[in-house]
């Protein structure tokens, strides 16, 4: 079974490679390095969104507020950029952190299931975004974005900076997940929360931290989106929530917690993106795309899910 486990860990990657190969065989321009780089780069926003939530899902919760949080961050960025210059970036991300923190506190202190707690907080955050942006989408002047946001939109060594950023986040979060006590506790809580409590650990602190991290990464995603699109708006990140969660689960992380990792989410995001773009390449008509996407999602999860440690599937 140890063997099976080790194999299991590669399934998402295998699925990804298989998909890429299949699409490439159908239309080999898909393989062109330019194209692969583009797809890669375009996946990063999605990955950033999903990366933080992965921690929340690992502790067995869920964060439905990321979409509003990212939008809020983009608004903060666009508003404060003229005044604070680069300071706007940390400010926007901080906005995300605070929102995440709020969700975590509501869920842990009031003992409300995260599904509802974060849904509710998402409403609050959206109101805040509307209020901040005065119900407008705010443009980021090109000189501002060149001055401050070059690190997102530019290229380095012929590779789009989004990719570098994504890889950096992957590295940092994987480190956080694999090397730090926080990551250790996140895994532990997801697998057997009561044992962790009984071991004299303040479970709530870790949980709240996970939600805060989720908010923070949503904030980062918001900043990146704001930079790529040169604007901030309360609806900028719309339609991002479910795809983001799809990435996580498609990567093989268990929605019930305990089992998973960041790189799985990374691969999951690529899978989702490749499927979407792939449909355009294979020429699946716009009508069929959602149908195909839906079923591929289920199939992918069926394939990548690590059932070794999950007993009751709800």
């Amino acid at each position: 079974m140890g063997m099976r486990d080790r194999l299991q860990a590669y399934v998402p990657a295998i699925v990804l490679v298989a998909l890429v190969a299949a699409i490439g065989l159908y239309d080999n321009t898909f393989f062109s390095s330019g194209n692969l780089l583009t797809i890669f780069a375009d996946t990063m926003t999605l990955f950033l969104m999903a990366s933080g939530v992965t921690f929340v899902i690992m502790i067995g919760g869920i964060d439905l507020s990321i979409q509003s949080v990212a939008s809020l961050a983009s608004c903060i960025l666009a508003i404060s950029l003229p005044r604070f210059g680069f300071g706007a970036v940390p400010l926007a991300i901080l906005g995300g952190t605070v929102s995440g923190l709020l969700g975590g506190l509501v869920s842990t202190r009031l003992r409300i299931p995260s599904f509802i707690a974060t849904l509710a907080v998402s409403g609050l955050v959206l109101s805040a975004a509307y209020w901040l942006s005065a119900e407008r989408s705010i443009n980021v002047s090109s000189e501002d974005s060149d001055r401050v946001l070059g690190w997102v939109v530019g290229e380095t060594a012929g590779v789009p900076n989004e990719i570098w950023l994504g890889l950096a986040v992957l590295a940092i979060l994987s480190g956080l997940f694999g090397l730090t006590p926080f990551g250790r506790l996140v895994r532990a809580i997801g697998s057997q929360e009561r044992a962790v409590m009984a071991s004299g650990i303040d479970v709530n602190r870790t949980k709240v931290a996970a939600y805060a991290l989720s908010g923070t990464m949503a904030g980062v995603a918001g900043v990146v989106m704001g930079a790529r699109l040169g604007s901030g708006s309360p609806t900028l990140a719309n339609e991002f929530l479910l795809p983001a969660i799809a990435c996580i689960v498609v990567g093989g992380t268990a929605i019930t917690g305990g089992v998973g990792s960041i790189w799985r989410t990374f691969v999951g995001a690529l899978i989702v993106q490749v499927v979407r773009i792939g449909m355009t390449f294979v020429g699946v008509s716009a009508f069929a795309q959602q149908i195909v996407f839906g079923f591929i999602l289920v199939a992918a999860v069926a394939a990548t899910m690590d059932r070794g440690k999950i007993f009751v599937i709800k």
Binding site: G123, S127, L297, A302, I313, K314
Partner: protein, 329 residues
């Protein structure tokens, strides 16, 4: 097979337990009281009818969703299934796109199609052993896609009065839709209280092992529940068409989260085993009355989501019996 009842639960005073059961109702009354103070119109019959109209479709949706959530599962395919059934209905009755005109016969068909998609949910979830969260998400995407494909993106305007009557008609001064919703509630209540699977849902939601030992066919029950939920969504699709006189793929936009919210605000626990369809009815009214009240009292549009968020937190804090779950996820 973990002891089903923690000692904490035993110590819990029944009195507190009873208050918990009534908390959602209390929240609803408090809300009504508050709004009627701020806006006397609230208590008018006209507004009552209006609220019933707005609550009808969410109520029907909740009847399905509640069973799924009582099992500890979740159903994200609501919008997709409603879309498909709505589009079908609008094409089967007198309309300006297709030539069919089978009138009320379309209703059972739509319900069955909803049931079929629900069955697909349950079947994939049980057979592929994929979490309901993802399975229903996928089927939901597919549903929207199918609905879009069938209509090619256009809207089918219906002229069939028999269908329109389901929403526009009045019986004893109340909208027919409200009566249908009431019917759905009674049916769901009958299922929950008087049919075997209705009781089994609680067993499965509380402790699948115990349920298994009692000889309950877990898989079959799960599939059945998802199918039944689908049928309720199908009915909701019919009502949507009746209400808007048209069917299109986005007819149920935004229904998913509002439904789950209503169920949970009503006091049904997302972890399963605790709750009831009646709770969900209360939940629907809390959400509907709030939306209605925010407009009556002139809450500015952009803070409305915020207010709703706060109320959800308050309601759930009061209503949810969290003493039983020592671990909150």
């Amino acid at each position: 097979m973990g002891a089903v009842l923690s000692r904490a639960a035993v110590a819990k005073m029944p009195l507190l337990a009873r208050w918990r059961n009534w908390a959602p109702v209390a929240v609803l009354f408090a809300l009504c009281a508050l709004i009627s103070i701020l806006s006397p119109n609230f208590l008018s019959l006209a507004n009552f009818v209006g609220i019933l109209n707005s609550a009808a479709i969410p109520t029907v949706l909740c009847m399905g969703a509640t069973f799924v959530i009582l099992m500890g599962s979740i159903d994200l395919s609501i919008e997709g299934i409603v879309a498909v059934s709505a589009v079908l209905v609008s094409l089967l009755v007198d309309n300006d796109v297709s030539t069919y005109s089978i009138g009320l016969l379309a209703v059972p068909i739509a319900i069955l199609v909803g049931g079929a998609m629900g069955f697909l949910n349950g079947f994939l979830h049980v057979k592929l052993k994929t979490p309901s969260f993802m399975t229903t998400l996928g089927v939901g995407f597919a549903g929207i896609g199918i609905a879009t494909t069938i209509l090619g993106g256009f809207t089918a305007r219906i002229s069939d009065q028999s269908i329109r009557y389901l929403s526009l008609g009045r019986l004893l001064g109340l909208p027919v839709a409200a009566w249908i919703a009431l019917g759905a509630v009674l049916l769901a209540l009958l299922m929950q209280e008087r049919m075997r699977f209705g009781r089994w849902v609680y067993a499965i939601g509380t402790d699948e092992m115990t349920a298994r030992h009692a000889g309950i066919p877990i898989e079959r029950t799960r599939i059945l529940i998802f199918s039944i939920a689908g049928m309720f969504y199908g009915l909701a699709g019919v009502l949507s068409v009746a209400q808007f006189g048209q069917g299109h793929a986005l007819i149920s936009q935004g229904r998913l989260f509002s439904t789950v919210t209503a169920v949970v605000v009503g006091g049904t626990s997302l972890s399963g085993g605790v709750g009831s369809v009646l709770n969900s009815v209360i939940g629907v009214f809390i959400v509907t009355v709030l939306a209605n009240g925010m407009i009556l009292t002139g809450v500015p549009p952009y803070v409305q989501q915020g207010v709703q968020g706060l109320l959800i937190i308050v309601a759930v804090t009061l209503a949810l019996d969290r003493s039983r779950l020592d671990v909150v996820k």
